[in-house]
Amino acid sequence: MVKKQKIEINHLSHNYNLNNNELLVLDNINLIIKSQEFVIILGPSGCGKSTLLRMIAGLEQPSNGSIQVNGHEITKADPSRVVVFQDPTLYPWLTVWDNVNLGYKIRKEKNDQAVQSMLELIGLENFKSAYPHQLSGGMAQRVALARALVNDPSILILDEPLGKLDSLTRITMQKELVHLWRKRQFTGIMVTHDIEEALLLATRIIVMRQRPAHIIGEFRLNMSYPRHRDSEELIKIRKDIFHLLGHQSDW
């Protein structure tokens, strides 16, 4: 099933109230994300990327400007836009199976087939009755991905989903993420501060600068997967991104 979803972000600004001081965290963001893109927002920590994701998910409302999906303003959270956080945030009191089944339970639906095939897709069908504390970090994050994807979202929002994994697990998970994205054909919006990750996964990279966060650059990557880290095209984009972020040839 192909899900046509176009996200339009227009003149979006957002303030935080910090100790009675209005703090501008997002400044005039304009962005259009087309169906089935894999957009990666790259920027330093604490620059408001996560806030932007929360707004696309409908968990927070912007102070100014608008976010629309297919022309409809986002006012609340919806199962068509599911978030995967940096921590797996699996419910520790539920088994792997029940965690993946969460979306169906909330909507009072039953689709054991979908849960089962999702568990098979992430290779954890033998762990379905395990509790989260029995899983490794990578396994837990895979379950979190499964829990999100089983809802068949048209937009998957990924807030540094691999940020806390060790570098080897991370490489495996990057491959897996591309695999899932191609197989399930969702629109991916992901935040990371890892340039390599962005280069390997994205169809488009948005570079942001902090306080207040605004877009300073945009790169389209039309290469096929799997990508090679040392391909000339990637080396060039990497250089440009470093340059954009203020690092010259000395690094």
């Binding site: 929360r54 998910a57 409908g58 968990l59 959270a77 919806d78 199962p79 836009r81 599911v82 978030v83 956080f85 921590d87 945030t89 419910y91 520790p92 009191w93 539920l94 088994t95 969460l102 979306g103 339970k105 909330i106 909507r107 509790y131 989260p132 504390h133 829990r147 809802n151």
Partner: protein
Amino acid sequence: MNPKVKIAYWPQVVAFIMWLGTACLTYFFKNADDFPRTTEFAYLCFSIAIFCALTLSSNKVRYYGSWLLALALFAGGWELIQAKFVMLPRPFFGAPQELLDVFITDWYRLLDSLLHSLTLLLGGYILGCFIGFSIGIGMGWSLHFGYWAHPILRFFGPLPPVAFLPLLFAVIPSSWLAGELLMAFAAAFPVAVLTWSGIAGVNPNYYDVARTMGAKSFFLIRHVAIPAALPFVFVGMFMALGSCFYMLVVAEMLGVKAGLGFYMQWAQGWAAYPNMYAALIIMAVMCTSFMTLLFKVRNNLLRWQKENIKW
């Protein structure tokens, strides 16, 4: 208990001999005073000796062999010191057969007292836990509820429930109902505070995850907030159980005219100290059974936790 570890036979063999010895000591040696049920106590010791002999092949029983031995020494020593030589002042210290006599002759009243204590304890505890749990959820979830509940909880919560005792017994004509309310009050405070802090401490991302999948408030409370707070709730319930035991004894000694506490008070009035020991033993069994039961419920509901202590 690891079944592969070899458990020694000798403690239980010695326990058999010692129980047999205690039985003989009781039966064949003359009492220093006129104690009832001496023959029955000898038979009891003999039965335990037989039990030791018959269960020698059981790993499970043999694990407690040293305890069987220690108890035999205690019973034998007690019989010798008190029944045969009366070395400790009477009536404060009785002989073992006197304790046995209480269980045989007064079992009906002990059972009746136990049932009264049980209803008082269970009723008050369950009511208190329910009230405390509801208050805790209300405070953790709704700012409006918290606005009113928080000051009240802060003002009255730390007050020892005993302080209400004279007032409640005067105002409420039924001392049983007053006792019930005291127990409920004793249980409600710790459960409310811990439920509240449990819910306040839930990882906010747990809610976000459910909300993006379409969850409404009821689902968030029932399936996210409550299970996440449950470990805290149980800490509160254990504290509540402790204060309920305490309140039970105080209420029964000071106002309620039934139950084990009342029985003890009565036994003291008649200087019937063996009766008091009997009531104490029954009370200890009751309290530890409740604790065990609560641990069982907790370990079952919280089996998803990494570590559970064994009671």
